[in-house]
């Protein structure tokens, strides 16, 4: 009697449990889909708001003047400035970051690594507004006093963005260098090559897709970065194509932030700012896709 009662209770329990389990699984599945949903919503809403100006076609994509007051929304100077600022920052980050990654992967004693790695990780997260404020107070003043110009310029943007890009370049390049099979290195050293020759001829060439990936990802981050760069590059009233690194410029992100604060909602100007958002999103998406492809390729060659 008690035996069958127990069995009965057990069956009931597992039935109830089974239902709850399936319900929870469905619920978790819906939660997992939320990220997909959010990305679709973002794309849909930004595109929808941008379309009235994207539809201008060549006047927007190849237009040379951006004068919202006169209904001119040419995007060329802004996009060009964005790339100038992004590529320059990347150059500085590469010159510092790749050697730093080589040192961390090959030479650093454990205690030094334990000091450098966390500070690199923290540098990634340091609020960009604080970095921008530091840039405005120190870097801009330094450039104005010692190099010339207004101080708020492309060069200041390069340095600040290089600082923000550096951690990405260092961590991904270091991972790529570490992924090169040990046997390659040992074979090279065994043949009598010096450590430096081994690094130059074996390690770096074998890690190159990972290193390239870190650079392109860094560039995506630099182009999408907003506050720090906004505070140091000057933002002239009309976007132009600069002729020297000491001139102020306007980039996509800074234009959006500055003009969205006074734009009339529903005006062509507002749609133009969302169209800038579409361009920014597209550039960064392409760069991120290239990064992912390169990292995948790096993993494949590393395994071989």
């Amino acid at each position: 009697m008690s035996d069958s009662a127990q069995r009965c209770a057990g069956a009931f329990g597992s039935f109830r449990g089974g239902l709850a389990e399936r319900l929870v699984e469905k619920l978790l599945f819906i939660c997992a889909l939320s990220s997909i949903l959010i990305v679709f919503f973002i794309i849909a809403f930004i595109l929808k708001e941008g379309i009235p100006v994207l539809a201008l076609g060549p006047d927007f994509f190849f237009g040379m003047t951006w004068k919202p007051g006169q209904g001119q929304f040419g995007v060329v100077p802004t996009v060009l400035s964005t790339f100038i600022v992004g590529i320059g920052a990347l150059g500085i980050a590469a010159v510092i970051g790749i050697p730093a990654a080589i040192y961390l992967a090959e030479f650093a004693p454990e205690w030094l690594r334990a000091l450098i790695k966390p500070s690199v990780e923290m540098l990634v997260g340091i609020p960009s507004i604080v970095l921008g404020f530091f840039g405005l107070m120190v870097l801009v003043v330094f450039i104005r006093d010692n190099i010339g110009g207004w101080g708020e310029c492309i060069l200041a943007g390069w340095v600040i963005l290089a600082v923000m890009t550096l951690p990405h370049v260092i961590s991904i390049s270091e991972d790529a260098l570490r992924a090169v099979p040990r046997t390659y290195k040992e074979a090279s050293l065994g043949l009598g090559a010096t450590p430096l020759q081994t690094i130059r001829k074996i390690l770096v060439p074998n890690a190159r897709s990972g290193i390239l990936a870190s650079l392109i990802l860094g560039m995506g981050n630099a182009i999408g970065e907003t506050m720090a760069v906004l505070m140091v590059i000057g933002n002239p009233n009309i976007p132009w194509i600069p002729s020297s690194v000491l001139e102020p410029v306007r980039v996509l992100t800074s234009t959006i932030v500055i003009e969205i604060s006074y734009v009339v909602w529903g005006s062509t100007h507002q749609h133009a700012l969302f169209a800038l958002g579409v361009i920014l999103f597209s550039i960064v998406a392409v760069l991120n896709a290239i990064t992912t492809a390169l990292i995948r390729k790096g993993i494949r060659t590393g395994c071989r």
Binding site: G17, E21, V24, L27, L28, F29, C31, A32, S34, S35, I36, I38, F41, I42, F45, I46, E49, I96, P99, A100, Y103, L104, F107, A108, I116, S119, E121, L123, G125, I126, P127, S128, I129, V130, G132, F133, F134, L136, M137, V138, V163, L166, P167, P195, L196, G220, I223, G224, E225, T226, M227, M231, T253, V257, I260, W265, F281, V284, A285, T292
Partner: protein
């Protein structure tokens, strides 16, 4: 040979120098903000509201506003992120659905924050009529850190040794209970680490908050989640770019110092926690 050795030493020194630059930059920025800001910090600064566009008063509403925004953001992103991670790590077969979820999580992580701000503005503020408010700002920040909570939780859950689950299942415990009592209990330090790192990112985020939460100068506390709210980063931005008196700059430095202190506390706590957690997991998993 001798010349070669000298060259090697030089190159090694150069590489070391490059590696130390990142440490130096971090130290210099933090030291500068501390030196410039520490004079402004006192009880009045931390507990009063600003007046006359930041020429006087303190940053109390900004501190509370930033904490409130992060609170709303975490309430949205943590349950959703952890739930997604449980599904990905424990339930999902490796198929097209999970592949695409992971792909879109990576996509979301790659979207520039200003684009998320624009989305928050058009979708939350205008389309859903939530207005420029604590709720809009918190949700927009939530969209931003959701990918981090998903990834960190998934990694933490996957780091729990398979033997724990098998032991629990073998004792006749259901899968759901195993996940709740065993897996999540073992994984929670890793999840907290990810959440803390996300929080550090959210609390310093300016562009998103500027577009969706408020002007930064509000000198009152929000009475509901539908009120606009001040925040530290936006306040720093306004004072730093439009302020021209020394009082305003002093207050911008003070607010930066409070912001960076909150950020550093969270990061250091997260890194320490992660270090311990992974040591413990490795120790147990191996033994």
């Amino acid at each position: 040979m001798n010349r070669g050795e000298v060259a090697e030493k030089l190159v090694k020194a150069g590489l070391l120098g490059a590696a130390l630059i990142s440490v130096a930059v971090l130290l210099i920025v933090v030291a500068y903000i501390v030196l410039k800001g520490v004079g402004t910090i006192n009880l009045e600064f931390l507990t009063q509201a600003q007046y006359r566009f930041g020429r006087g008063g303190g940053i109390f509403p900004q501190i509370i506003g930033s904490l409130g925004l992060v609170g709303v953001c975490l309430l949205f992103a943590v349950p959703l992120g952890v739930a997604s991670a449980i599904y990905l790590a424990e339930y999902a077969p490796n198929n097209l659905v999970t592949e695409s979820v992971r792909f879109f999580v990576a996509c979301l992580a790659g979207i520039p924050s200003i684009v998320i701000g624009l989305f928050g503005l058009v979708f939350l503020v205008y389309y859903l009529h939530l207005g420029v408010s604590l709720l809009s700002g918190g949700l927009a920040l939530g969209f931003m850190i959701l990918p981090w909570t998903v990834r960190a939780s998934e990694e933490a859950i996957k780091a729990v040794p398979q033997s724990y689950r098998e032991a629990s299942l073998a004792l006749g415990v259901t899968k759901l209970q195993t996940i709740r009592r065993i897996v999540l209990k073992s994984a929670y330090p890793g999840i907290i680490t990810g959440v803390l790192l996300g929080t550090g990112k959210a609390i310093g985020e300016t562009a998103v908050v500027l577009l969706t939460a408020g002007s930064g100068l509000e000198s009152f506390l929000p009475r509901s989640i539908f009120d606009p709210v001040a925040s530290l980063p936006v306040y720093v931005y306004l004072l730093a770019t439009t302020g021209n008196t020394s009082e305003q700059l002093e207050r911008a430095f003070g607010a930066s110092l409070v912001l960076i202190t909150l950020f550093l506390l969270m990061s250091i706590f997260a890194l320490v926690l992660r270090d311990r957690y992974f040591k413990r997991m490795r120790g147990r998993g191996g033994g």
